[in-house]
Symmetry: C3
């Protein structure tokens, strides 16, 4: 069994944004030498997500608005978590909706994606460095 | 290490519905010859889900109503994604709530499920063919 | 390839609560002898979750309140699932928001977590015994 682990560094200038990391993950798969296996991609921070959906700007605006309705950033006092001095209570909830991780296949040395599947990093408390973990196991 | 990959074809006549695919996935596990491993089951389309819950019709009606409250299908103009000519903006949000994938164990050559766990395909933009990927790795 | 499977027994006295199971899962990883691999942790019951977030009491209060807003426990008659004689219709929805499972890495014989990542069991219909499955595959 082979395994291969890489950390991607993210640095999103906005508080909330989505970044397509499909190419970065594909490079890790190619470098791993794994032909058949599974690949885990997860946010290592608890106010960020990794998820799969479409790379379409209108959809990302829909996600923004929807997440803000489900878990508004303001008022800050809305969240007991913010009593710790943080202002990211909403980000912990938004990340639950969008998810922490995806598990994707490696088949014939490549991702085995449907026609529109793209891997995104979802940032909900940005303006600082965070990491994404990519780990592949297989043969 | 063994690996085994199968694609299930789904064709749901309604816009939104849930289909129990547990037996289909069990057949893939049996055919794989894997005794100990992990099994990924994911929707290959971004307006569909794979998730685990109870096969109880009342619960599925509850999911229907709840998802429609969280992300109404209409008005179509509610979603910027629909400016592309699609009418499935809501389906991209519903799929986030219900999830893209499940990872389940293979133990002693079988799924190792709790008493009520059943695997479902969740369709949010049906009336066309879509695929579900099942991949097993192990020994 | 090695594999190692352990069942944790949970018995949460409240209807809804969150329990930090990080140490329990770490013990399973250590006992497995796996140095490089993947670890699946999933609730075996469909009204419970396994998820990763921060061990901060204010945040857990925020999750409580938010989940109760998204899927209120009462009135019981709100959920068609409760026609079966159950009163846990809400728990099946709450569990969807919080998720069934996490997949985490094993790197150098340990979890490879970000600074605040902790594994939680989320109970939404407690006051009885339930199980969590931990399975590790790797080498």
């Amino acid at each position: 069994m082979r395994s291969h682990t890489v950390y991607l560094t993210m640095n999103v200038p906005a508080r909330m944004d989505f970044v397509n990391i499909t190419r970065d993950v594909e490079k890790v798969v190619a470098a791993s030498g794994v032909k058949e296996g599974l690949c885990l991609v997860n946010a290592m921070h608890i106010t960020a997500s990794v998820f799969i959906n479409d790379d379409e700007p209108g959809l990302h605006e829909d996600y923004d608005r929807w997440l803000e309705e489900l878990a508004p950033h303001e008022p800050i006092s809305r969240y007991k978590h913010n009593r710790t001095g943080e202002d990211n209570g909403d980000a912990h909830l938004k990340r639950k909706v969008m998810g922490r991780e995806v598990v994707v296949t490696v088949t014939g040395g490549k991702h085995d994606f449907g026609p529109w599947e793209q891997i995104f990093y979802g940032e909900f408390d940005g303006r600082r460095k965070k990491r994404v973990l990519v780990k592949i196991i297989g043969e």
